[in-house]
Symmetry: C2
Protein backbone atom coordinates (compact mmCIF):
# COMPACT_ATOMS: atom_id res chain seq x y z
CA UNK A 1 0.00 0.00 0.00
CA UNK A 2 1.26 3.49 -0.86
CA UNK A 3 1.95 5.77 2.05
CA UNK A 4 -1.22 7.75 2.75
CA UNK A 5 -1.51 11.44 3.52
CA UNK A 6 -3.11 12.57 6.78
CA UNK A 7 -6.38 13.47 5.05
CA UNK A 8 -6.52 10.08 3.33
CA UNK A 9 -5.90 8.24 6.61
CA UNK A 10 -8.60 10.30 8.32
CA UNK A 11 -11.13 9.45 5.62
CA UNK A 12 -10.34 5.73 5.71
CA UNK A 13 -10.30 5.45 9.51
CA UNK A 14 -13.60 7.35 9.75
CA UNK A 15 -15.13 5.08 7.12
CA UNK A 16 -14.00 1.87 8.78
CA UNK A 17 -15.13 2.94 12.25
CA UNK A 18 -18.55 4.27 11.20
CA UNK A 19 -19.18 1.26 8.96
CA UNK A 20 -18.71 -1.19 11.86
CA UNK A 21 -20.35 0.25 14.97
CA UNK A 22 -19.10 -1.24 18.27
CA UNK A 23 -16.35 -3.15 16.52
CA UNK A 24 -13.18 -2.67 18.56
CA UNK A 25 -10.13 -1.66 16.51
CA UNK A 26 -6.64 -1.45 18.00
CA UNK A 27 -4.08 1.21 17.13
CA UNK A 28 -1.92 -1.77 16.17
CA UNK A 29 -4.46 -2.71 13.46
CA UNK A 30 -4.40 0.72 11.83
CA UNK A 31 -0.65 1.02 12.36
CA UNK A 32 -0.04 -2.19 10.36
CA UNK A 33 -2.66 -1.34 7.74
CA UNK A 34 -1.27 2.13 7.07
CA UNK A 35 2.43 1.51 7.86
CA UNK A 36 2.33 4.42 10.20
CA UNK A 37 3.50 5.25 13.75
CA UNK A 38 1.00 4.74 16.55
CA UNK A 39 1.59 8.29 17.81
CA UNK A 40 0.49 9.67 14.42
CA UNK A 41 -2.62 7.46 14.44
CA UNK A 42 -3.41 8.54 17.94
CA UNK A 43 -3.50 12.15 16.72
CA UNK A 44 -5.70 11.17 13.77
CA UNK A 45 -8.16 9.41 16.04
CA UNK A 46 -8.30 12.31 18.48
CA UNK A 47 -9.15 14.59 15.59
CA UNK A 48 -11.94 12.26 14.39
CA UNK A 49 -13.27 11.80 17.92
CA UNK A 50 -13.45 15.52 18.51
CA UNK A 51 -15.01 16.55 15.19
CA UNK A 52 -17.72 13.86 15.31
CA UNK A 53 -18.61 14.68 18.92
CA UNK A 54 -18.77 18.43 18.31
CA UNK A 55 -21.03 17.93 15.32
CA UNK A 56 -23.45 15.46 16.98
CA UNK A 57 -22.33 12.68 14.65
CA UNK A 58 -21.88 9.97 17.29
CA UNK A 59 -18.91 9.10 19.47
CA UNK A 60 -15.55 7.38 19.23
CA UNK A 61 -15.09 5.43 22.45
CA UNK A 62 -11.62 4.55 23.77
CA UNK A 63 -11.20 1.45 25.91
CA UNK A 64 -7.89 1.14 27.71
CA UNK A 65 -6.14 -2.06 28.74
CA UNK A 66 -4.91 -5.20 27.01
CA UNK A 67 -8.23 -5.93 25.27
CA UNK A 68 -8.72 -2.24 24.54
CA UNK A 69 -8.98 -0.13 21.43
CA UNK A 70 -11.45 2.27 19.90
CA UNK A 71 -14.89 1.90 18.44
CA UNK A 72 -17.66 4.04 16.99
CA UNK A 73 -21.09 4.32 18.67
CA UNK A 74 -24.01 6.28 17.20
CA UNK A 75 -25.04 7.79 20.54
CA UNK A 76 -27.35 10.78 20.43
CA UNK A 77 -27.58 13.90 22.56
CA UNK A 78 -30.88 14.30 24.50
CA UNK A 79 -32.08 16.99 22.09
CA UNK A 80 -31.48 14.66 19.14
CA UNK A 81 -33.57 11.96 20.85
CA UNK A 82 -36.35 14.54 21.34
CA UNK A 83 -36.22 15.40 17.66
CA UNK A 84 -36.63 11.76 16.68
CA UNK A 85 -39.63 11.39 19.00
CA UNK A 86 -41.20 14.47 17.45
CA UNK A 87 -40.51 13.22 13.95
CA UNK A 88 -42.25 9.92 14.72
CA UNK A 89 -45.28 11.78 16.14
CA UNK A 90 -45.39 14.15 13.20
CA UNK A 91 -45.41 11.22 10.77
CA UNK A 92 -48.00 9.21 12.70
CA UNK A 93 -50.41 12.01 13.63
CA UNK A 94 -52.03 11.94 10.21
CA UNK A 95 -55.63 10.83 10.01
CA UNK A 96 -55.13 9.36 6.55
CA UNK A 97 -53.24 6.56 8.35
CA UNK A 98 -56.39 5.35 10.08
CA UNK A 99 -57.61 2.07 8.62
CA UNK A 100 -60.84 0.12 9.18
CA UNK A 101 -61.13 -0.85 12.84
CA UNK A 102 -59.55 2.41 13.98
CA UNK A 103 -55.97 1.15 13.69
CA UNK A 104 -53.14 3.46 12.66
CA UNK A 105 -51.15 2.14 9.72
CA UNK A 106 -47.43 2.22 10.62
CA UNK A 107 -45.72 -0.34 8.38
CA UNK A 108 -43.99 2.34 6.34
CA UNK A 109 -42.15 3.58 9.47
CA UNK A 110 -41.24 0.14 10.73
CA UNK A 111 -39.93 -1.03 7.36
CA UNK A 112 -37.97 2.11 6.47
CA UNK A 113 -34.25 1.67 7.24
CA UNK A 114 -33.74 5.44 7.64
CA UNK A 115 -36.44 5.80 10.31
CA UNK A 116 -35.34 2.58 11.99
CA UNK A 117 -31.78 3.84 12.20
CA UNK A 118 -32.92 6.94 14.06
CA UNK A 119 -35.14 4.90 16.43
CA UNK A 120 -32.29 2.45 17.01
CA UNK A 121 -29.87 5.26 17.83
CA UNK A 122 -32.28 6.55 20.50
CA UNK A 123 -32.60 3.09 22.01
CA UNK A 124 -28.87 2.29 22.08
CA UNK A 125 -28.30 5.69 23.72
CA UNK A 126 -30.77 4.74 26.46
CA UNK A 127 -28.87 1.50 27.13
CA UNK A 128 -25.34 2.83 26.62
CA UNK A 129 -24.21 1.85 30.12
CA UNK A 130 -25.28 -1.79 29.74
CA UNK A 131 -23.56 -4.86 28.41
CA UNK A 132 -25.86 -6.49 25.83
CA UNK A 133 -25.17 -9.82 24.10
CA UNK A 134 -28.38 -10.22 22.05
CA UNK A 135 -31.37 -8.22 20.95
CA UNK A 136 -34.43 -10.47 21.29
CA UNK A 137 -37.75 -9.81 19.56
CA UNK A 138 -40.87 -11.70 18.51
CA UNK A 139 -41.95 -12.09 14.91
CA UNK A 140 -42.89 -10.18 12.76
CA UNK A 141 -43.01 -6.41 12.99
CA UNK A 142 -40.38 -6.10 15.72
CA UNK A 143 -37.71 -7.75 13.56
CA UNK A 144 -36.58 -4.73 11.50
CA UNK A 145 -36.30 -2.59 14.65
CA UNK A 146 -34.37 -5.34 16.44
CA UNK A 147 -32.03 -5.66 13.45
CA UNK A 148 -31.42 -1.90 13.37
CA UNK A 149 -30.56 -1.86 17.10
CA UNK A 150 -28.36 -4.95 16.78
CA UNK A 151 -26.57 -3.34 13.85
CA UNK A 152 -25.76 -0.22 15.88
CA UNK A 153 -24.50 -2.38 18.75
CA UNK A 154 -22.64 -4.93 16.60
CA UNK A 155 -24.47 -7.89 18.18
CA UNK A 156 -26.84 -10.57 16.86
CA UNK A 157 -30.63 -10.81 17.04
CA UNK A 158 -32.63 -13.80 18.24
CA UNK A 159 -36.22 -14.09 17.09
CA UNK A 160 -39.00 -15.72 19.10
CA UNK A 161 -41.44 -17.50 16.80
CA UNK A 162 -45.17 -17.88 17.16
CA UNK A 163 -44.70 -21.61 16.53
CA UNK A 164 -41.75 -24.00 16.26
CA UNK A 165 -40.18 -24.56 12.81
CA UNK A 166 -38.87 -27.85 11.47
CA UNK A 167 -35.75 -26.14 10.11
CA UNK A 168 -34.74 -24.58 13.41
CA UNK A 169 -34.21 -27.69 15.54
CA UNK A 170 -35.21 -28.17 19.15
CA UNK A 171 -37.13 -25.24 20.59
CA UNK A 172 -38.14 -23.96 23.99
CA UNK A 173 -41.88 -23.50 23.72
CA UNK A 174 -44.24 -21.68 26.07
CA UNK A 175 -47.89 -20.69 26.28
CA UNK A 176 -48.77 -17.24 27.54
CA UNK A 177 -51.81 -15.04 28.07
CA UNK A 178 -51.99 -11.82 26.06
CA UNK A 179 -52.42 -8.71 28.18
CA UNK A 180 -55.34 -7.04 26.44
CA UNK A 181 -57.54 -9.77 24.90
CA UNK A 182 -56.62 -12.42 27.49
CA UNK A 183 -56.27 -15.08 24.82
CA UNK A 184 -53.77 -17.94 25.04
CA UNK A 185 -50.92 -17.86 22.55
CA UNK A 186 -47.71 -19.76 21.99
CA UNK A 187 -44.14 -18.57 21.60
CA UNK A 188 -41.12 -20.68 20.76
CA UNK A 189 -37.41 -20.08 20.40
CA UNK A 190 -34.77 -22.48 19.04
CA UNK A 191 -32.47 -23.51 21.90
CA UNK A 192 -29.50 -22.68 19.67
CA UNK A 193 -30.58 -19.03 19.38
CA UNK A 194 -28.84 -17.67 22.45
CA UNK A 195 -26.28 -18.88 24.92
CA UNK A 196 -27.25 -19.43 28.55
CA UNK A 197 -26.78 -16.55 31.00
CA UNK A 198 -26.67 -13.90 28.26
CA UNK A 199 -27.53 -10.24 28.68
CA UNK A 200 -30.46 -9.44 26.46
CA UNK A 201 -32.46 -6.42 25.39
CA UNK A 202 -36.11 -7.21 24.61
CA UNK A 203 -37.51 -5.20 21.71
CA UNK A 204 -40.88 -4.83 20.01
CA UNK A 205 -42.59 -2.24 17.86
CA UNK A 206 -45.65 -1.78 20.06
CA UNK A 207 -46.81 -2.39 23.64
CA UNK A 208 -50.40 -2.35 24.85
CA UNK A 209 -50.89 -4.16 28.15
CA UNK A 210 -47.43 -5.75 28.06
CA UNK A 211 -48.57 -9.38 27.94
CA UNK A 212 -46.30 -10.24 25.03
CA UNK A 213 -43.32 -8.49 26.63
CA UNK A 214 -43.98 -10.36 29.87
CA UNK A 215 -44.22 -13.63 27.92
CA UNK A 216 -40.89 -12.89 26.25
CA UNK A 217 -39.30 -12.14 29.62
CA UNK A 218 -40.67 -15.41 31.04
CA UNK A 219 -39.34 -17.38 28.08
CA UNK A 220 -35.97 -15.68 28.51
CA UNK A 221 -35.77 -16.84 32.11
CA UNK A 222 -35.81 -20.42 30.77
CA UNK A 223 -32.58 -19.49 28.98
CA UNK A 224 -31.27 -18.10 32.31
CA UNK A 225 -30.94 -14.74 30.56
CA UNK A 226 -30.43 -11.42 32.30
CA UNK A 227 -32.89 -8.87 30.93
CA UNK A 228 -31.15 -5.53 30.55
CA UNK A 229 -34.31 -3.74 29.43
CA UNK A 230 -37.50 -3.75 27.38
CA UNK A 231 -37.71 -1.17 24.59
CA UNK A 232 -40.56 -0.34 22.22
CA UNK A 233 -41.25 2.50 19.82
CA UNK A 234 -44.89 2.98 20.72
CA UNK A 235 -46.77 2.20 23.95
CA UNK A 236 -50.43 2.89 24.57
CA UNK A 237 -51.23 5.38 27.31
CA UNK A 238 -53.94 3.01 28.59
CA UNK A 239 -53.75 0.74 30.50
CA UNK A 240 -51.26 2.75 32.56
CA UNK A 241 -50.40 -0.37 34.54
CA UNK A 242 -48.51 -2.66 32.15
CA UNK A 243 -47.78 -6.29 32.92
CA UNK A 244 -44.10 -5.40 32.70
CA UNK A 245 -42.67 -2.87 35.14
CA UNK A 246 -39.73 -1.18 33.50
CA UNK A 247 -39.87 -0.38 29.84
CA UNK A 248 -38.66 2.36 27.54
CA UNK A 249 -40.84 3.81 24.81
CA UNK A 250 -40.19 6.60 22.34
CA UNK A 251 -43.78 7.73 21.88
CA UNK A 252 -47.17 7.20 23.48
CA UNK A 253 -50.45 6.42 21.76
CA UNK A 254 -53.49 8.14 23.20
CA UNK A 255 -56.13 7.00 20.73
CA UNK A 256 -57.87 7.93 17.51
CA UNK A 257 -60.82 10.31 17.50
CA UNK A 258 -63.02 9.20 14.61
CA UNK A 259 -65.37 12.19 14.96
CA UNK A 260 -62.69 14.89 15.05
CA UNK A 261 -60.61 12.84 12.64
CA UNK A 262 -57.42 13.10 14.69
CA UNK A 263 -54.72 10.72 15.87
CA UNK A 264 -53.07 11.48 19.21
CA UNK A 265 -49.53 10.25 19.52
CA UNK A 266 -47.14 12.20 21.78
CA UNK A 267 -43.45 12.03 22.71
CA UNK A 268 -42.92 9.89 25.82
CA UNK B 1 -19.91 26.59 13.51
CA UNK B 2 -16.16 27.21 13.77
CA UNK B 3 -14.27 27.00 10.51
CA UNK B 4 -13.08 23.44 10.08
CA UNK B 5 -9.66 22.28 8.92
CA UNK B 6 -9.36 20.12 5.83
CA UNK B 7 -8.85 16.95 7.92
CA UNK B 8 -11.92 17.75 10.03
CA UNK B 9 -14.07 18.34 6.93
CA UNK B 10 -12.84 15.08 5.39
CA UNK B 11 -13.77 13.14 8.52
CA UNK B 12 -17.25 14.67 8.75
CA UNK B 13 -18.06 14.32 5.05
CA UNK B 14 -16.89 10.70 5.07
CA UNK B 15 -19.00 10.00 8.16
CA UNK B 16 -22.15 11.58 6.73
CA UNK B 17 -21.85 9.86 3.36
CA UNK B 18 -21.06 6.38 4.74
CA UNK B 19 -23.79 6.67 7.38
CA UNK B 20 -26.48 7.31 4.74
CA UNK B 21 -25.87 5.05 1.76
CA UNK B 22 -27.53 6.18 -1.47
CA UNK B 23 -28.62 9.46 0.06
CA UNK B 24 -27.82 12.19 -2.46
CA UNK B 25 -25.93 15.18 -1.03
CA UNK B 26 -25.27 18.33 -3.02
CA UNK B 27 -22.06 20.37 -2.86
CA UNK B 28 -24.38 23.21 -1.86
CA UNK B 29 -25.40 21.27 1.26
CA UNK B 30 -21.83 20.79 2.45
CA UNK B 31 -20.89 24.30 1.36
CA UNK B 32 -23.58 25.79 3.61
CA UNK B 33 -22.91 23.39 6.46
CA UNK B 34 -19.17 24.09 6.51
CA UNK B 35 -19.18 27.72 5.26
CA UNK B 36 -16.69 26.72 2.64
CA UNK B 37 -16.17 27.24 -1.13
CA UNK B 38 -17.56 24.59 -3.47
CA UNK B 39 -14.20 24.26 -5.20
CA UNK B 40 -12.58 23.31 -1.87
CA UNK B 41 -15.32 20.77 -1.17
CA UNK B 42 -14.94 19.35 -4.61
CA UNK B 43 -11.27 18.63 -3.83
CA UNK B 44 -12.24 17.05 -0.49
CA UNK B 45 -14.75 14.78 -2.14
CA UNK B 46 -12.31 13.74 -4.86
CA UNK B 47 -9.85 12.77 -2.18
CA UNK B 48 -12.48 10.71 -0.31
CA UNK B 49 -13.70 9.10 -3.53
CA UNK B 50 -10.20 8.06 -4.54
CA UNK B 51 -9.03 6.73 -1.17
CA UNK B 52 -12.19 4.66 -0.57
CA UNK B 53 -12.07 3.20 -4.07
CA UNK B 54 -8.38 2.31 -3.90
CA UNK B 55 -8.88 0.59 -0.55
CA UNK B 56 -11.97 -1.40 -1.55
CA UNK B 57 -14.14 0.51 0.90
CA UNK B 58 -17.05 1.22 -1.44
CA UNK B 59 -17.63 4.01 -3.93
CA UNK B 60 -18.62 7.67 -3.97
CA UNK B 61 -20.89 8.15 -6.97
CA UNK B 62 -21.27 11.54 -8.65
CA UNK B 63 -24.49 12.35 -10.47
CA UNK B 64 -24.43 15.40 -12.66
CA UNK B 65 -27.33 17.67 -13.59
CA UNK B 66 -29.86 19.74 -11.68
CA UNK B 67 -30.98 16.88 -9.40
CA UNK B 68 -27.39 15.71 -9.06
CA UNK B 69 -24.96 15.38 -6.20
CA UNK B 70 -22.87 12.65 -4.62
CA UNK B 71 -23.70 9.57 -2.63
CA UNK B 72 -21.96 6.60 -1.06
CA UNK B 73 -22.59 3.02 -2.24
CA UNK B 74 -21.04 -0.06 -0.61
CA UNK B 75 -20.27 -1.77 -3.90
CA UNK B 76 -17.79 -4.62 -3.83
CA UNK B 77 -15.10 -5.77 -6.25
CA UNK B 78 -15.67 -9.27 -7.74
CA UNK B 79 -12.92 -10.74 -5.52
CA UNK B 80 -14.63 -9.31 -2.42
CA UNK B 81 -17.91 -10.97 -3.46
CA UNK B 82 -16.02 -14.27 -3.86
CA UNK B 83 -14.62 -13.91 -0.37
CA UNK B 84 -18.08 -13.40 1.11
CA UNK B 85 -19.37 -16.50 -0.71
CA UNK B 86 -16.46 -18.50 0.68
CA UNK B 87 -17.03 -17.15 4.18
CA UNK B 88 -20.70 -18.23 4.07
CA UNK B 89 -19.69 -21.72 2.89
CA UNK B 90 -17.00 -21.99 5.52
CA UNK B 91 -19.47 -21.11 8.26
CA UNK B 92 -22.22 -23.41 6.97
CA UNK B 93 -20.12 -26.47 6.09
CA UNK B 94 -19.98 -27.60 9.69
CA UNK B 95 -21.74 -30.84 10.54
CA UNK B 96 -22.57 -29.62 14.04
CA UNK B 97 -25.15 -27.42 12.34
CA UNK B 98 -27.21 -30.42 11.23
CA UNK B 99 -30.41 -30.71 13.25
CA UNK B 100 -33.03 -33.51 13.38
CA UNK B 101 -34.58 -34.00 9.94
CA UNK B 102 -31.26 -33.32 8.20
CA UNK B 103 -31.73 -29.54 8.12
CA UNK B 104 -28.79 -27.18 8.44
CA UNK B 105 -29.25 -24.60 11.21
CA UNK B 106 -28.59 -21.14 9.77
CA UNK B 107 -30.40 -18.65 12.02
CA UNK B 108 -27.15 -17.30 13.46
CA UNK B 109 -26.06 -16.17 9.96
CA UNK B 110 -29.41 -14.70 9.00
CA UNK B 111 -29.80 -12.77 12.25
CA UNK B 112 -26.24 -11.44 12.47
CA UNK B 113 -26.03 -7.83 11.22
CA UNK B 114 -22.35 -8.18 10.29
CA UNK B 115 -22.92 -11.20 8.03
CA UNK B 116 -26.08 -9.65 6.60
CA UNK B 117 -24.20 -6.48 5.72
CA UNK B 118 -21.67 -8.47 3.70
CA UNK B 119 -24.43 -10.47 1.95
CA UNK B 120 -26.34 -7.25 1.25
CA UNK B 121 -23.26 -5.60 -0.25
CA UNK B 122 -22.86 -8.53 -2.67
CA UNK B 123 -26.51 -8.28 -3.69
CA UNK B 124 -26.56 -4.50 -4.20
CA UNK B 125 -23.40 -4.86 -6.29
CA UNK B 126 -25.20 -7.38 -8.52
CA UNK B 127 -28.07 -4.93 -9.08
CA UNK B 128 -26.02 -1.75 -9.26
CA UNK B 129 -27.26 -0.85 -12.73
CA UNK B 130 -30.94 -1.06 -11.77
CA UNK B 131 -33.37 1.41 -10.36
CA UNK B 132 -35.05 -0.16 -7.30
CA UNK B 133 -37.90 1.41 -5.30
CA UNK B 134 -38.61 -1.35 -2.76
CA UNK B 135 -37.08 -4.56 -1.49
CA UNK B 136 -39.91 -7.09 -1.11
CA UNK B 137 -39.66 -10.24 0.98
CA UNK B 138 -41.95 -12.76 2.69
CA UNK B 139 -42.01 -13.27 6.45
CA UNK B 140 -40.05 -14.35 8.48
CA UNK B 141 -36.45 -15.30 7.81
CA UNK B 142 -36.03 -13.14 4.71
CA UNK B 143 -36.80 -9.93 6.63
CA UNK B 144 -33.35 -9.22 8.13
CA UNK B 145 -31.68 -9.79 4.75
CA UNK B 146 -34.23 -7.55 3.03
CA UNK B 147 -33.64 -4.85 5.67
CA UNK B 148 -29.87 -5.05 5.20
CA UNK B 149 -30.21 -4.67 1.43
CA UNK B 150 -32.72 -1.84 1.78
CA UNK B 151 -30.39 -0.10 4.20
CA UNK B 152 -27.50 -0.23 1.71
CA UNK B 153 -29.77 1.12 -1.03
CA UNK B 154 -31.57 3.72 1.13
CA UNK B 155 -35.01 2.39 0.19
CA UNK B 156 -37.90 0.81 2.16
CA UNK B 157 -38.88 -2.83 2.55
CA UNK B 158 -42.35 -4.27 2.01
CA UNK B 159 -43.16 -7.57 3.70
CA UNK B 160 -45.56 -10.15 2.34
CA UNK B 161 -47.44 -11.86 5.17
CA UNK B 162 -48.59 -15.45 5.41
CA UNK B 163 -52.02 -14.12 6.39
CA UNK B 164 -53.73 -10.73 6.54
CA UNK B 165 -53.48 -8.67 9.75
CA UNK B 166 -56.20 -6.53 11.25
CA UNK B 167 -53.74 -3.71 11.93
CA UNK B 168 -52.51 -3.47 8.35
CA UNK B 169 -55.72 -2.55 6.56
CA UNK B 170 -56.92 -3.85 3.23
CA UNK B 171 -54.66 -6.50 1.74
CA UNK B 172 -54.11 -8.14 -1.60
CA UNK B 173 -54.36 -11.84 -0.84
CA UNK B 174 -53.39 -14.80 -3.01
CA UNK B 175 -53.18 -18.59 -2.79
CA UNK B 176 -50.19 -20.32 -4.34
CA UNK B 177 -48.72 -23.80 -4.66
CA UNK B 178 -45.33 -24.40 -3.05
CA UNK B 179 -42.71 -25.71 -5.45
CA UNK B 180 -41.41 -28.70 -3.52
CA UNK B 181 -44.23 -30.05 -1.34
CA UNK B 182 -47.04 -28.95 -3.70
CA UNK B 183 -49.15 -27.72 -0.81
CA UNK B 184 -51.48 -24.74 -1.07
CA UNK B 185 -50.48 -21.67 0.95
CA UNK B 186 -51.62 -18.08 1.25
CA UNK B 187 -49.70 -14.84 0.98
CA UNK B 188 -51.05 -11.35 1.61
CA UNK B 189 -49.70 -7.84 1.35
CA UNK B 190 -51.31 -4.60 2.58
CA UNK B 191 -52.28 -2.50 -0.41
CA UNK B 192 -50.56 0.49 1.22
CA UNK B 193 -47.20 -1.30 1.22
CA UNK B 194 -45.99 -0.27 -2.22
CA UNK B 195 -47.03 2.17 -4.88
CA UNK B 196 -48.28 0.92 -8.22
CA UNK B 197 -45.76 0.46 -11.06
CA UNK B 198 -42.76 0.33 -8.70
CA UNK B 199 -39.43 -1.34 -9.41
CA UNK B 200 -38.89 -4.07 -6.89
CA UNK B 201 -36.19 -6.53 -5.90
CA UNK B 202 -37.57 -9.80 -4.51
CA UNK B 203 -35.45 -11.23 -1.70
CA UNK B 204 -35.51 -14.37 0.42
CA UNK B 205 -33.01 -16.33 2.47
CA UNK B 206 -33.49 -19.66 0.72
CA UNK B 207 -34.83 -21.08 -2.56
CA UNK B 208 -35.65 -24.70 -3.24
CA UNK B 209 -38.00 -25.20 -6.19
CA UNK B 210 -38.86 -21.51 -6.42
CA UNK B 211 -42.60 -21.83 -5.69
CA UNK B 212 -42.56 -19.08 -3.08
CA UNK B 213 -40.52 -16.76 -5.30
CA UNK B 214 -42.94 -17.39 -8.16
CA UNK B 215 -45.86 -16.70 -5.82
CA UNK B 216 -44.24 -13.43 -4.75
CA UNK B 217 -43.71 -12.45 -8.38
CA UNK B 218 -47.36 -13.26 -9.19
CA UNK B 219 -48.57 -11.19 -6.23
CA UNK B 220 -46.33 -8.32 -7.36
CA UNK B 221 -47.94 -8.32 -10.79
CA UNK B 222 -51.24 -7.44 -9.03
CA UNK B 223 -49.44 -4.29 -7.87
CA UNK B 224 -48.32 -3.72 -11.50
CA UNK B 225 -44.74 -3.89 -10.22
CA UNK B 226 -41.68 -4.32 -12.38
CA UNK B 227 -39.48 -7.08 -10.99
CA UNK B 228 -35.85 -6.05 -11.27
CA UNK B 229 -34.54 -9.35 -9.92
CA UNK B 230 -34.88 -12.21 -7.45
CA UNK B 231 -32.02 -12.63 -4.98
CA UNK B 232 -31.42 -15.29 -2.33
CA UNK B 233 -28.43 -16.27 -0.21
CA UNK B 234 -28.81 -20.01 -0.61
CA UNK B 235 -30.40 -22.04 -3.43
CA UNK B 236 -30.55 -25.82 -3.57
CA UNK B 237 -28.68 -27.47 -6.44
CA UNK B 238 -31.69 -29.73 -7.04
CA UNK B 239 -34.15 -29.27 -8.67
CA UNK B 240 -31.99 -27.54 -11.29
CA UNK B 241 -35.15 -26.29 -13.00
CA UNK B 242 -36.65 -23.69 -10.65
CA UNK B 243 -40.15 -22.30 -11.08
CA UNK B 244 -38.54 -18.89 -11.51
CA UNK B 245 -36.14 -18.35 -14.41
CA UNK B 246 -33.69 -15.64 -13.42
CA UNK B 247 -32.42 -15.51 -9.90
CA UNK B 248 -29.20 -14.64 -8.14
CA UNK B 249 -27.83 -16.74 -5.32
CA UNK B 250 -24.62 -16.41 -3.32
CA UNK B 251 -24.15 -20.09 -2.48
CA UNK B 252 -25.56 -23.47 -3.49
CA UNK B 253 -26.72 -26.26 -1.22
CA UNK B 254 -25.84 -29.76 -2.41
CA UNK B 255 -27.12 -31.76 0.55
CA UNK B 256 -26.09 -33.28 3.84
CA UNK B 257 -24.33 -36.66 3.98
CA UNK B 258 -25.45 -38.19 7.27
CA UNK B 259 -23.03 -41.16 6.93
CA UNK B 260 -19.89 -39.16 6.15
CA UNK B 261 -21.14 -36.41 8.44
CA UNK B 262 -20.57 -33.61 5.94
CA UNK B 263 -22.51 -30.64 4.66
CA UNK B 264 -21.95 -29.60 1.05
CA UNK B 265 -22.51 -25.92 0.37
CA UNK B 266 -20.49 -24.29 -2.41
CA UNK B 267 -20.06 -20.77 -3.83
CA UNK B 268 -22.48 -20.17 -6.72
Amino acid sequence: MDKLTKAQRISLITKILVDHPFHMYTLQYFSEKFQCAKSTLSEDINLIESVLRKNDEGEIISVSGAAGGIYYAAYMKPEQVEKVKQLICQKLNDYRRVIPGGFVYMNDLFFDPKMLKKMAECIITKYKEHRIDYVVTIETKGIPLAMAIANERGIPVAVIRKSARLSEGTTMQMNYVTGSSKSIKTMAMPIRSIQRKSNILLVDDFMKAGGTAKGMADLMSEFEANIVGVAVVLATKEPKQKLIKDYYTLVEYDGVDETKKTVKIIPA
